[in-house]
């Protein structure tokens, strides 16, 4: 019989764990794949958004008459074209972020938009819009924003649990942990408390936001867009435009990177409003400058971390206060950081506090493990400094304190099977760690963690009459998930990988699917695909039983075929999926399996990173010599793409550690809104990134799969900081560790 989902995870595989070519590979190496900006429509208009040049201002007036009068301009929209959302403060914030109403809260905030017959005309037209601003005091630094006399970003945003007497920019606070801090710290031989700061960084996807929208006068619309979640985009666009979600069909284009940054609408409601007003299809594509100024970076943070340790290396207590700002909006990102910061450790006493603070910065949106890399940086740096001061081996200390099965985590849950110890032991015996640190170089190590998401998922699996399989799923393929889904369908059905086609269905063709985020897709969509395949197999075994004239219960599924089982074993030759499919018109019609559910049991993920660096003591430049990533994948469905997540996540974290930051002028405007000055890692900055996959099965998935995408961005910040501090003999407490900061630390040492 088919495997029940509550049994031990399967460990023997025919297709899962192999490395076949991805189904969308040829389209993507030939230039045929269609991304957000690659679709054009007959009669299409080109749109352009006008953005605030000020960090904080009241909008006194907007005069669009000159733009409207320009020949070729077909529509101009402002906040007046978006009915104010009532009763949903979160969605109202999204609406106000897409188009400012009475105030602009950051430089780059959208204030108006134009659709015209050419891109050049649209650009010309926005310059004709006259906006009168009353400039208001601004604040971009999180600590400055918390001060009692700070410029107020927005009134009336603070939630009830914020203590009285704080700046009204402080909107939210949270607390996690267990144990008594006083007695915990009393047990330590050494307690240190350090303050860290991290800059806002951008997801830096190479594809700017782009969409093509059309709206008919009957209220029906079509939207083509690069998104991490077209179902959420439908919900949000409909709410922001004040139309029925059922009237809007959203199709996800191929997506040119997102890393969380394409989980939110920015341009799409604007394009739809212009399409509605003009009666024509509208193409809206952001420039890179707009992507930096107008779309979501990470939080910027200020964090205090206090840890006590015995001479033997046991952590007796940990406490962290995380002050996060996600711009002029409420975010819950500080919760993620507060839950994740100490998650790698088995602690009797741990307490974390999250604070959300408003600043005049762009609205934060998720960036790969949102909130976690920063908190983990603070914790892993503090632990490393304790190891230095107590002359302890940083890897042995992590093994001594590592969370394991049964550990009550810092955020309350008790861990099931997890792979942190295995990853640490793999690191300890790996040639990278056992090779002595070369003279003139230094080495750092750190751990990382991510929760992993499950969530709303809907998959339909259809058996073609020719014996092929098509899987309709609703999560954009951001890094090879079609291949993983096809492998799991092939595995469950026992048919070749090449016979499975995976399609990303539009919002009208499938039930709701949560965003492609939280490292949920391979886990949750994979699980739904397996369940849908089991449903299809059950159907096919019944068809075979019908042909054979035996009880359906007396049929089993072996190697892609129905086989008579039990007392009937051997009485009939196996009937393959292709045979059953070909005969389906005579046995009851088409065959399909479906799954709609909320995936639970995602299984948390841990990783361990090691870096070797060589410091240029004259310039402060860090040269990365060697980098190794160890991570538990539960079961690597397509190991190439698991390694790819580990390598790519590590390099994004290395970018956060070394270079990447939003730099602000004293007017609150961004000074480096381009890839030349906001420098993401390039090929010549890096060595090969070795990825070592551990496979400790997740009990929540029949194949043991865990999400892998987010964990790898968490360790690099401290891994690099720990390597650099040992290299220069001084510790930096602020990211990025750009050459000027490193040089300053060297000179101060």
């Amino acid at each position: 019989m088919t495997m029940a989902l509550d049994q031990q995870p399967k460990r023997q595989f025919k297709y899962v764990g192999t490395r076949p070519p991805r189904p969308d590979g040829i389209d993507k190496v030939t230039g045929r794949a269609q991304y957000g900006n690659d679709l054009v429509a007959p009669g299409m208009l080109w749109a352009k958004i006008l953005r605030s040049p000020h960090a904080h201002a009241k909008i006194v007036s907007i005069d669009t008459s000159a733009a409207e009068a320009l020949a070729g301009v077909k529509a101009v929209v402002t906040a007046r074209d978006f009915p104010a959302i009532e009763g949903d403060a979160g969605m109202r914030d999204v609406q106000l972020n897409c188009m400012a109403d009475t105030h602009v809260w950051y430089e780059g905030h959208a204030v108006a938009a134009v659709a015209a017959t050419s891109d050049a005309l649209a650009r010309q037209a926005v310059k004709l819009i006259r906006v009168v601003y009353e400039i208001l005091p601004h604040v971009t630094d999180v600590d400055a924003a918390m001060a009692p006399n700070a410029p107020l970003v927005r009134e009336g945003q603070a939630m009830e649990n914020v203590p009285a007497g704080m700046s009204a920019n402080v909107t939210y606070t949270s607390e996690f942990g267990h144990g008594d801090l006083t007695s915990g710290f009393a047990k330590a031989d050494l307690v240190i408390e350090r303050v860290f700061k991290t800059a806002a960084t951008h997801q830096g996807y190479i594809e700017p936001h782009a969409c093509l929208a059309s709206m008919s006068s009957d209220g029906r619309g079509e939207l083509w867009t690069c998104t991490q979640g077209h179902f959420y985009f439908r919900t949000a666009c409909a709410a922001i435009l004040g139309i029925e979600a059922s009237g809007l069909r959203v199709t996800a284009s191929e997506i040119g990177g997102g890393f969380g940054g394409k989980t939110q609408v920015w341009a799409e409601p604007v394009a739809l409003a212009l399409a509605k007003k003009s009666g024509k299809p509208v193409k809206l594509t952001m420039t890179r400058d707009e992507v930096f100024r107008g779309t979501g970076p990470t939080v910027t943070t200020s964090m205090t971390c206090k840890i006590g340790m015995t001479k033997a290396g046991r952590i007796t207590a940990g406490e962290a206060t995380l002050r996060y700002s996600g711009g002029a909006y409420h975010t819950g990102t500080c919760d993620m950081g507060a839950m994740a910061g100490f998650a790698a450790y088995d602690l009797d006493v741990v307490r974390t506090y999250g604070w959300n603070v408003l600043t005049n910065r762009p609205k934060e949106i998720a960036y790969r493990a949102p909130g976690a890399p920063q908190a983990i940086y603070a914790v892993e740096s503090t632990i490393d400094e304790l190891c230095q001061k107590l002359n302890l081996d940083p890897l042995d200390v992590r093994i001594l304190n590592a969370a394991r099965k049964g550990t009550k985590s810092s955020y309350g849950v008790v861990f099931e099977d997890i792979g942190l110890l295995e990853a640490l032991h793999a690191a300890k015996t790996h040639p990278h760690w056992t090779t002595p640190v070369a003279p003139g170089t230094s080495r750092g190590i750190a751990c990382g963690f991510w929760f992993n998401f499950g969530g709303n998922t809907c998959v339909s699996l259809n058996i073609g009459t020719d014996g092929t399989v098509s899987v309709s799923e609703g999560n954009p393929d951001i890094g090879g998930s079609r291949a993983s889904i096809a492998l799991m369908a092939a595995e469950e059905l026992g048919v070749p990988y090449e016979t499975v086609r995976v399609v990303i269905a539009d919002t009208a063709s499938l039930g709701y699917n949560d965003n492609t985020d939280g490292s949920r897709v391979t886990f949750a969509v994979g699980l739904a695909t397996i369940k849908a395949a089991i449903a299809a197999k059950t159907n096919m075994m019944a068809r075979a039983a019908q042909v054979w004239g035996i009880d359906p219960e007396a049929v089993e599924w072996v190697d892609g075929a129905a086989c008579p089982a039990g007392p009937n074993a051997g009485k009939f030759p196996p009937m393959t999926l292709a045979e059953i499919a070909a005969n389906s018109f005579s046995t009851g019609g088409p065959i399909a399996g479906h799954c709609d559910f909320q995936a639970d049991g995602a299984g948390v993920s841990f990783g361990v990173h090691i870096a070797d660096v060589k410091m240029d003591m004259e310039t402060g430049k860090t040269e990365l010599l060697r980098y190794t990533v160890f991570q538990d994948a539960g079961k690597a469905v397509h190991p190439d793409y698991v390694e790819g997540q580990m390598q790519g996540g590590a390099v994004q974290g290395i970018g956060m550690a070394l270079n990447e930051e939003y730099i602000y002028s004293d007017k609150g405007t961004i000074l480096n809104a381009g890839f030349l000055d906001y420098r993401i890692p390039v090929a010549s900055d890096l060595p090969m990134i070795e990825a070592v996959i551990l496979e400790i099965p997740n009990p929540g998935h029949p194949y043991g799969v865990r999400g892998v995408g987010e964990t790898p961005i968490c360790p690099p910040l401290a891994t690099m900081a720990n390597a650099i501090s040992r290299g220069i003999g001084a510790r930096l407490y602020e990211l990025p560790m750009s050459p000027p900061r490193v040089l300053k630390a060297i000179k101060g040492a």
Binding site: G25, P208, I478, G479, G644, Q647
Partner: protein, 158 residues
């Protein structure tokens, strides 16, 4: 301003178009010639996703005007495969999982091809510096470098 008539060659095919003086080669390729493979990631020559060849040299097509290419030979990602047969670089990128989202891939393939045209056996360092102007945010470059090395080995053996 009146449009400028341009006669050029794209992927070996003769092409004529009218262009405004301010129109980039990238926009000409994408919206006049329907060659959507080159992507605009920045529009300022920093990301390399619009990389094409102009008389055998790689350029950011967002920094070249359409009016500049009269009489030139342009190569784009659409010309890399020989009909249905993939170029060894294209095959190596699939075989080595050298792309995740794929948006930078056309530019990186065009740039890599010009490298291998000049140097059939580049070192890792030579590949890394040749591709330093092509940003990839997904992969950390590891598998891209390995794919270029593998394609070079295939081409040397062929």
């Amino acid at each position: 301003m009146s449009a400028i008539a341009v006669t050029t060659t794209v992927n070996g095919d003769p092409v004529q178009f009218l262009t405004d003086p301010g129109e980039t080669l990238l926009d000409v390729l994408r919206y006049k010639l329907n060659l959507m493979g080159a992507k605009e990631g920045c529009g300022t020559g920093d990301c390399g996703s619009c990389t094409v060849t102009l008389n055998g040299r790689i350029v950011c097509s967002c920094l070249v005007l359409g009016a500049e290419v009269d009489g030139a030979e342009i190569g784009t990602i659409e010309g890399l495969a020989d009909g249905p047969n993939l170029h060894p670089l294209q095959q190596a990128f699939i075989d080595h999982a050298a792309l995740q989202c794929g948006i930078c891939t056309p530019g990186i393939l065009v740039a890599s091809k010009t490298l291998l045209d000049r140097n059939p056996d580049p070192s890792e360092e030579e590949i890394r510096y040749w591709l330093a102007g092509n940003l990839c945010r997904c992969t950390g470059y590891d598998k891209i470098i390995r794919a270029v090395q593998a394609a070079a080995a295939t081409m040397r053996g062929a």
